[in-house]
Each structure stands twice: as structure tokens, then as C-alpha cells.
Amino acid sequence: MTNPKYRQIADSLREEIDAGVLKAGTQLSTEIELSGQWRASRSTVREAIKLLTELGLVEARPGQGTFVRAKIVPFVTDLSADPAKFGERDGDLYSQSVKAQHRVPDSTTPRVETHLAVGEVATELELPARSLVLSRHQQRFIDGQPYSLQTSFFSMDLVTVRGADRLIVAEDIREGSTQYLRDALGVKEAGYRYLITVRTPDRIETTFFRLPEDGRVGVFENLRTSYDQDGNPFRLTVTVCPGDRNEFVMNGPDPDIPDEPH
């Protein structure tokens, strides 16, 4: 398979940036220097720099040269169950974990919509196709920068049959929907499953997250399905967040939480 020279040059510079050999603010060698060093044409070197620019690793300052950009500090989301907090308030869990990382969280007022369930929403909530569902969508920011887009889906039955009226109000549920459903309906989150996938961002996401147009920065699309004490799914949360500023941790095993009841 091909391993074009511009990729070799870009990979090598990226390794030096990742390893901290080239620190933020350092000027890269000039085009002429790099082409001499790599025995490559200047257009090849230019392509390598272009790739690094698209990846957000370096930036050109007109008339001065190309410089290593300050690294984005990734936000770390813990996917493991915290026995102390499990099934409890989840609303401020996010803002608390942002604050714990000494950063400032913010999110928009939720946009509440109703839909007919199709695709993964129907499958994950185990609803017949075209059942009525409602969604709550929020944009989330950290230190003023866009970090994630989150949409939670619920069966409309929770509202119309069981009376969880606050779900259809376009207003933040301060204690979180897990806590609310527990208090209002006695629906307790007993377990969850994350399904983690990575794909290219679409146009809305590219604009919102201010990602390079060419789609080289992938986004995580994480599905989190919550199950109640009877093993029935009651919420699906889809979170889309760019890979250049988000990472996840998971601690195993979780000793304090019982496994599935038999």
C-alpha cells in the first residue's frame, strides 16, 4: 500500500508534537529546511503542513511561519458506574464533572420535540416502529467552547400514560431526568449500556464544533441506554462529541454493583 511522502513527513512532525519535542508556540522548520531534510519537493512539504493545519496541530502566521498550536485540553467523561452516584441525580453530574476538572460548563435550554420512533431509537427503546417518542436536545459548552450535542429520547407513554409531565417542558430538569423519573414514577435506573462508535461529522456538527471542512476529525457518537429495575429500557441518550477535544475513561471491574438479576 502507498505511504505517500507527505504523510511520512506529517506523521513524523505529529509524533514530535505529541511527544512534546515540538512544544506549543514553537516555529516549525521552514519549507526549504524541511524539503532539504526529507529530500522532498516543496509542494510535498506544503501538503504535509496542510494536513497538520487541518488537524489543528499547527497554524500559519502570515509573514512569520508555521507554529505549533496550543493543545486542546480534552474533556474526560467517565463511562464506568460510580457506586455512590449510581441511578441518582444525573442532571448536575455533567456539570459537576466539568467543574471537577476545573472548567466551566454551560448548556442551552433543551429543545423538546416529538417524533415517530425509527431506527436505533425504536430498537434501543424496544418500541414498535413509529411509536410516539419525545426528544430533549441540548448543546453543551465547556469554557465557552462547543464540546458536545446531546439528545435524550423517551417513550411518550411516560408522559401521556404515566404522567411524567416535566419531560415535555422545554426547561432544564435541574436534578436530571434519572432523578426526576425516580421521584415522579419510581422508575429507577438499575443499569446501562454504552455503544461507542466513531464517524465523520455532518454539516451541522462541522459548523457547530468549528471542525475542519474535510471531515478528518472524527466524532464519537455514543448511545447510552438506561434500563429500569425490571430490565426495561426507558431512556436513550445520544451524545455526539468531536474526538479532538473529548476522551473517555472506564474503570473495571465495578465491584459494588450487582450484576443482572437471574
Binding site: 504523510r7 506529517a10 463511562l79 455532518d202 476529525v217 473495571g252 471491574p253 465495578d254
Partner: protein, 275 residues
Amino acid sequence: MPDPLYRRIADDLEQQIASGVLLPGAKLPTEQELRAQFRASRNTVRDAVRFLTTRGLVQTWPGQGTFVIVKTEPYVTTLSADPKTGLGGGEGEAFKAEVLAQGRDPFTPNPRVEIKQAAGVIAEELRLDAGANIVSRHQERYIDQAPSSLQTSYYPMSLVHDGAQMLMVASDIMPGTVKYLGDVLGLRQTRYRDRITVRPPSAEESAFFRLPDSGLVSVLETFRTAFDGNDKPFRLTVSVYAADRNHFAVFGGAVPTRVRHGQSPGERPTQDRDD
């Protein structure tokens, strides 16, 4: 959010691929044709094609068009611990067992074993001084003959000095490294921590995974640090997965058996399996 138009176009094309209307190797309708068919803008059609590209369903050849590629069913790696063993999925012998359990065919050539000096993230995670000797065991992994992931485990050289000689041997350690280290050194893995990141592939990775040159397929990189009974890290495993053919699951708390064993949404076993 209602499904945006590009997702509906992608779904429609995916249906045609799944049902065999569009066979592997077939050319997709042109951008113009798709625009007319769905009354969509150029950008919307491009988003749909991009979406299918990242799912590993189609590949665009400059100047020729977009073609259906041989579909690889995404493989699901469970990162959270197996409730019975307490060990995480996706490594060593567990990898083979998991792949077989999903009715698929695993293949791992012999590992490449190297002695290296710890630096950067490896030194940090293993809490070693930079320059300390480490054993690196690197393995290519295939599922159904397609390249699936690259895995490298790093061990402090002190484990070898203490008697774990097999770490230096360039063949699979049966029945698994954790078991082996338990047998010879009495080392027990009590917990582990995964860090999950995503980034563009390096040139080498692109070549191994045969990724499109467009750079639209990212790689997922997981860093797993394993700790012994004294909470001392004794192993770092770095795995690189092509994102178009790998998905990941994490379970917490009590999850119904059918979900734990269901390999992907939409593919629920009709009966709960119990083991």
C-alpha cells in the same frame, strides 16, 4: 432531532446494499442522480456518501465514482469487565474467544517482541523512569480475514527478571498473559483503567487497515492500564481499531441478559441465553 435528509439518503442506500440491490463492487448513482432522486442539495448528498464511507460501506475513487465495498459487519468489543472473571474484553486469548462467540473468525499472527526504553505515556502509565527497559509485545489482529486492530502490550522488564521469561518469547502465551503472570509470579490483576481516544490514522495504520486516502475513517485508540493487588500498574495495552469496522460496548449495573449478549442493536437474540 428528526433524522436529517442526509441520514435518510444514507439509510436508503444502506438498505439497497444490505438487500443486495447494490452488490459489492457496484457503482453508486452519481451525485447528480442522487440529487435528483432525493431532491437534495449537493452538500446533503455528499454528507450521505461521507456517512456511508465512515461506516465502511462505500469508497470513493477520485475521477471514477463511489463504489460499494465488501461489507464488514462491525465487531463489538466490550470494554467493561466480564462479570465472571473481572477482566476486560478485547485482549489476548479473550479476544479470540469473544470473536468466536460472535460466530466470526479471529486470526492473530505471532507477536513481534521488542525490548524498548520507556518514554512518554508508557513511562507515565507504568510509573517507570524514562529510559527504563520494557518488553513490548505487538500483534496484528484480523477478523474474518480483514485487518481489525493493532495491539501492543508493554511490561516492565522487572517482570522478566522475576521469572516471567515467556514475556520474551515471540509466540502467544497460553492460556493468556494474566493467567501466566498469576502462575509464575503470583501477580493478580485486581483492576484496570481504559482511556478511549480517537484520532486520524498514521500512514502505517492506513496501510494496514487499507483505509481510504480521503482520511475520512478515524482510528480509535484505547490505553488499558492493569493494576496488581498492591495497586501497582504492571501492564499497559494500547489498541488501535479502525473506526469503520469496530464498535465498543460498556455496561454498568444490572443490564438484562439479552442486552449483554445482543451484539448490536437490532440484533436481539429471540431467547435469553443463560450461561
